[in-house]
Symmetry: C2
Subunit: 429 residues, 2 copies
């Protein structure tokens, strides 16, 4: 860190212990500019290097662009969940949250969770049916669906098993993305499911639907009809403007904003209208929450309010003392993020972070705060609050209703320990 022309924030401008600086200070750019200075010494333009790429013509245009070769370490780390021959293709790959900025997850880095690999679907052969307790069953091709009115909605999809490493007895030393990266945020565009159900004509006694995928695992989930209204249930054909990627459900997936990932059924094959839930394998053997009394809670749709600091985080060392920017993402399946607080002393004192003023509902929201770090050990936490007033719980509070084997819907506060040398590790508090 280079000496700066203006002074560091005064102690009156600190908002909490451990060097957290009031968000008001960060919003006054004049001060920040100098104090956060990471720039080098004075230059004249003539001192600027003229590298070879500035003096020879560069590469030609391409049909479909790719990241810079210098960014080839920015990938989704993958984890096969079962040995070959038992659960072929069952696994996850994580969005590398700590390497991204803003709120959109680019399609190439959007997390994966497959129960039987990625089917290679020829869209001309794909069929989608609406049937069951309706006046007339309907059969759609992709071409058919592309002719309907579409809506766009920016929202996250989060696996119910996201952050399950923090449900283990010992804190796992993994990156922010490898712990919390079973989430991605995108603009989804497609046909409101309600429109198609209206066309089929739902019978008055119907109350649930079954959504089933065309993968070999035939992912199947029961969804209450009440969710299927407006843009709360979209048959998405496009993600961030282009057609869905194969691993995101090409040619079509269900999007249920804020609800657990597996209900956002990929490679959607049929929606059957029913009078009761089905209790499929995917909502009995999995995605249930084992409680202290031994009873498993089923149909836990909504993903809880949550946040994670992505910078600093494990593998990214703030090795020099001085002003650092704390940055992270927050989200809630219940609506908009209203507040994110940050603690540098393990939760004794808290400072409000700067949060996007007008965040989208059920979407990733970025937060930031300045941190004047004196090379002293610190425990960094972030705590999100959503517009319903729900507050992200501590890990012990989160565990209260659950059996210790419970892994799903882990939305407790992430604690990062920063050592005096700047190393960051995962700790439980």
């Amino acid at each position: 860190m280079v000496s700066s022309p203006t002074s560091l924030p005064s102690s009156e401008e600190h908002a909490a212990n451990g060097g957290l600086v009031s968000r008001r200070w960060l919003l006054r750019s004049g001060l920040v500019a100098g104090a956060m200075s990471a720039s080098g010494s004075l230059v004249h333009a003539e001192q600027l290097r003229v590298p070879e790429w500035s003096s020879t013509p560069g590469l030609k245009m391409t049909g479909y662009g790719q990241p810079s070769p210098f960014e080839n370490s920015v990938v989704r780390p993958a984890l096969d969940l079962f040995p070959e021959g038992i659960g072929d293709g069952s696994g996850v790959s994580f969005t590398p949250l700590e390497k991204l900025a803003g709120t959109i997850t680019p399609n190439g880095l959007f997390f994966e969770r497959h129960h039987s690999g990625i089917p290679e679907i020829d869209p001309a052969q794909h069929q989608f049916a609406i049937h069951g307790n309706v006046k007339r069953s309907l059969l759609f091709t992709v071409e058919n669906l592309l002719r309907y009115p579409m809506v766009s909605r920016t929202c996250f999809i989060e696996c119910a098993g996201n952050s399950l490493f923090n449900s283990m007895d010992e804190p796992q030393q993994r990156t922010a993305g490898e712990i919390h990266g079973l989430i991605g945020n995108a603009e989804w565009t497609g046909v409101p499911l309600r429109l198609l159900l209206d066309e089929a004509g739902i019978n008055p006694d119907a109350s649930w639907v079954l959504a089933e995928g065309a993968d070999a695992a035939k992912m199947s989930r029961s969804i209450p009809l009440a969710k299927i209204v407006d843009d709360e249930a979209i048959i998405a054909l496009y993600q961030n403007g282009e057609r869905l990627r194969p691993e995101q459900g090409y040619p079509m997936r269900l999007v249920l904003p804020g609800w657990q990932g597996s209900m956002n059924v990929k490679w959607l094959r049929r929606v059957k209208v029913l009078n009761a839930p089905v209790h499929t394998k995917d909502e009995t053997s999995k995605y249930t929450l084992l409680q202290k009394d031994g009873i498993s809670k089923q149909f836990t749709y909504e993903m809880g309010v949550k946040s994670v600091i992505t910078s600093p985080s494990p593998g990214m060392e703030p090795s020099n003392p001085g002003l650092h920017l704390i940055s992270g993402v927050a989200w809630s399946g219940a609506g908009r993020i209203k507040r994110v607080e940050i603690s540098a002393d393990g939760g004794k004192s808290w400072a409000d972070a700067i949060v996007d003023q007008n965040p989208a509902s059920k979407a990733l929201t970025r937060f930031q705060l300045a941190w004047d770090w004196k090379s002293e050990p610190a425990i960094l936490l972030s705590r999100a609050t959503d517009e319903t007033g729900a507050v992200q719980p501590t890990r012990s509070k989160w565990y209260e209703p659950y059996n210790s084997n419970q892994l799903f819907h882990q939305n407790s506060i992430q604690a990062w320990s920063v050592s005096s040398s700047g190393g960051v590790s995962n700790v439980y508090i």
Copy 2:
């Protein structure tokens, strides 16, 4: 088009000549669902095919995902502008607007305009300087910049030469993207330039800056200081969440929301603070507007209010009569889109389209309307109005101040002629 259970919109529900249906009708999904029916006949689930991909495990996860092989025709069509050896690497590639939906342009399909190809920049070697009429010149590495507070902003970037094919004497028969696709819309994340200028300390008599790229063409543009405020001037490091692609300026570009593309300097190398504009080669020999009186207008920053119907459009034939969805995108460099009207009779009558209720400022905005087409020839137009009240002009109105050789800032109304067989072509009205 299959027979539908409910009736087509009545003549009272038509909003303009030629079969344009009131937007109120499209918003009542119950009616729409039946009337726009593109579904097949009744099915039982047992009738659904079980293709091979539903009975065998699929592909494994990947580090960085790619589009489906079935979408490999969705690419940026490229156009070299000069013969080899004269303007190596000078060219464009177009965003295929007619193949996209929603508002975000995916990074792989975001248009390109290069004046000397794409430099292959090693970010560890890249330098960025702020100098000139400042208290202290500053030199930044990419690593330095990544430590500053960042802002995110979703906005379009449009080449000043976008749609120039419609400035030619005869209407060119090209796709919507090949005419209007020198535009893309993304979430840009980076450091407000103002923050860094504050750190350098702008002297009171300064009023302009020069921004210069590190490509061999050294793209250079003069920018009034007044634009460099809040998130109206961002040194973007990320596009749609990930680091910039090489063809978008990796490792850093300037983003000036709403202003002509070339001012959003890619591969940004320096910003020099000045007391007057520089009149660089890129703002004298190019990007000036030749007027009727023979005088060229310089420094025409803001891109005008504009829209284009992307469906139907050339190459996409609405071959069957019946209800079709008209869809397109609108934008304005001056702010938010307030209204889009559609005509099916070449401008004699107009109907309001459904426009996103809360569009972002200076960003692509989607519009839609239902069209009851009777296999009669039609001239489809869209006309956008922005929040300042500016209305997209007709082609003849647009030409009024200009010499007939004037190509830039072409924002006039696009007319698509639909023949009785459904073929779509570009026409001037």
